[in-house]
């Protein structure tokens, strides 16, 4: 299956600042692909070049087999776009925006009211844009991006500035878009968002992609460490755990034991030994590294630094 989006050796500079140095990536049909990295890493510039809203200095881009610059008009009918920190006219009503957008496309959803209802905006039909909350504005932008049933949707920093509750609501909407068969290309600097939403991610820093894969793959590859912490009042627990593989290290203080190891089988091994030794356990938890840890390991700094 050919990729929906294919980017190779993309480069873009603004004056003497290199925004995108050398980016190559492929996005496949029906997946949520996330470009993740700190602010200023080149996420938005990359996305805007792919949308055809910015002219790259070098490299080639193909979206749905089209050239975003040469075939801009044809492509705009088939992609949906949501910009970072976008606004509409302060006093435009929700239904007016939806109506305008609908009229611009050759194909569009039959029932815009149903679309608004799906996004929880049906009661805001007659509200001015300026009166909407941050979450409602973002949901309206999603509605506008979806109005022509596009094949690919671009979402740039969708949940920046939203409270956790609104953020979660938006996440489930995005998953819903994917489940209807639409390909989603998003950018985020929130690792939790990337981990929850994305089928595949690319980590970008200083205009270059430094790693790409599913979130699980990346965690497995770069942060295989696993930690099991349990509490037990039994004697000699540390000695009895020695049957673990070479990578494991058991540390105990008072009645809390931290077992460090690596690999997918590690947690199972710990459970097996506990069972075999008949250790009585009062509490048990595992610590698995996240995408945030991967990012830290690859770049040497946190995403928000």
């Amino acid at each position: 299956m050919p990729p929906v989006i294919a980017v190779s050796n993309l480069g873009k500079r603004y004056g003497r600042t290199v925004a995108v140095d050398d980016v190559s990536l492929e996005v496949f049909e029906g997946e949520i692909f996330g470009l993740i990295g700190p602010n200023g890493a080149g996420k938005t510039t990359t996305m805007e070049c792919v949308e055809g809203n910015r002219v790259p200095d070098k490299g080639t881009i193909s979206v749905l087999g089209l050239d975003p610059r040469r075939d801009a008009n044809a492509l705009r009918q088939r992609i949906g776009v949501q910009h970072q920190e976008a606004h509409l006219q302060k006093r435009i009503k929700v239904w007016e925006a939806v109506d305008l957008w609908r009229s611009l496309y050759t194909t569009h959803v039959a029932d815009t009211d149903a679309l608004l209802a799906r996004l929880g905006l049906e009661s805001k039909r007659n509200a001015w844009f300026m009166t909407l909350s941050g979450g409602q504005k973002q949901r309206l932008f999603i509605a506008l991006a979806l109005i022509h049933e596009p094949e690919v949707v671009f979402l740039d920093e969708l949940t920046t500035g939203l409270d956790p509750q609104a953020r979660r609501a938006i996440w489930s909407l995005v998953t819903g878009i994917r489940d209807r068969g639409t390909t989603v290309f998003l950018t985020t600097h929130l690792m939790e968002e990337a981990e929850r939403l994305c089928d595949r991610v690319a980590i970008i820093e200083h205009g270059r992609i430094i790693e790409m894969g599913t979130p699980e793959e990346l965690v497995q590859k770069h942060c295989p460490e696993r930690t099991v912490v349990f509490t037990s009042d039994d004697a000699d627990v540390t000695e009895r755990m020695q049957g673990l593989g070479a990578v494991a290290r058991a540390e105990g203080s008072a009645s809390t034991y931290t077992i460090l190891g690596a690999g997918d089988d590690f947690v199972t091994d710990v459970i097996n030994i506990i069972a075999r030794e008949g250790i009585r356990v009062r509490g048990f938890r595992t610590e698995i590294p996240t995408l945030e840890d991967v990012f830290l390991k690859l770049t040497g700094h946190g995403i928000r630094d």
Binding site: V81, E85, H87, R91, L100, W101, L104
Partner: protein, 251 residues
């Protein structure tokens, strides 16, 4: 297949018209203020009679002043809207739809022209009623001259809108250009009496030619006597539009 330009054009124009009327300050300021000024000044000093009577209390035509103010306030309003839309990413958002850039700008201009014509109609109606016998000018011809002048000044407005860094600077920068432009336009004293260098600048400004044309229409000397001003308005329009397409920033 409709031409690309028309896709969404009327809908966007209608929408921008509605949005403009929802902002009472801007609406009243651009539509009503020049008319109110016309009535107050006209009452105080009288409107110049056709064929410019020398005994008029003030040396300029209040009706033409009001008409030019209508055009200038349309331009100020356009510059403000474009800079606000640009700063808020609204222009960028509209541009990433199938709307063509020409359609977006065309709709904004047509809305301004629409309100120019409405305001001018109010001016004419008030003039006919309050100053009977004086307002004998050909309404159609006068309106056409104002619209032509507005077009030309709007194109200069686009150049200003391209140079305005943020919405906060829109008002001072457009005032910085538009007010001297009014002073040099020949409304208050003849352009020929300006120092040489100021006179040359005056002829590069659309208001100068708009005022000359409006004076001509008012006197009844007509369009043919002022073909140079008409041509100048077209040339300036073309020049400013070309310049603004080169320097205009969408974001």
């Amino acid at each position: 297949m409709r031409p690309q330009f028309l896709r969404g054009f009327w809908k966007l124009t209608w929408l921008e018209t509605k949005i403009f009327t929802r902002e009472p300050m801007g609406f009243v300021g651009t539509l009503v203020m020049p008319v109110v000024l016309f009535i107050i000044l006209g009452r105080a000093f009288g409107v110049a009679k056709p064929l410019a009577v020398p005994e008029a209390d003030i040396p300029f035509n209040v009706a033409i002043l009001a008409a030019v103010l209508i055009a200038v306030s349309a331009v100020q309003s356009l510059v403000a809207i474009i800079s606000i839309y640009r700063e808020g990413g609204i222009l960028k958002r509209l541009r990433s739809t199938p709307l063509s850039p020409v359609t977006i700008m065309g709709a904004l201009v047509v809305v301004k022209l629409l309100f120019t014509v409405i305001s001018l109609t109010l001016l004419m109606l008030a003039g006919r009623r309050l100053f009977p016998g004086v307002m004998q000018v050909n309404v159609f011809s006068f309106t056409l001259a104002v619209v032509l002048g507005t077009f030309s000044i709007l194109s200069l407005g686009f150049v200003i809108a391209s140079l305005v860094p943020t919405a906060r600077f829109a008002q001072p920068i457009s005032a910085f250009v538009l007010y001297p432009m009014l002073a040099l336009s020949g409304l208050f004293f003849p352009v020929a009496k300006l120092p040489r260098w100021l006179e040359s600048i005056a002829y590069l400004l659309p208001t100068t030619h708009a005022v000359a044309l409006l004076n001509g229409v008012w006197d009844g000397s007509g369009w043919s006597a002022h073909w140079i001003n008409v041509a100048a308005l077209f040339v300036l329009f073309a020049a400013y539009t070309t310049l603004s397409t080169r320097v205009f920033r969408w974001e």
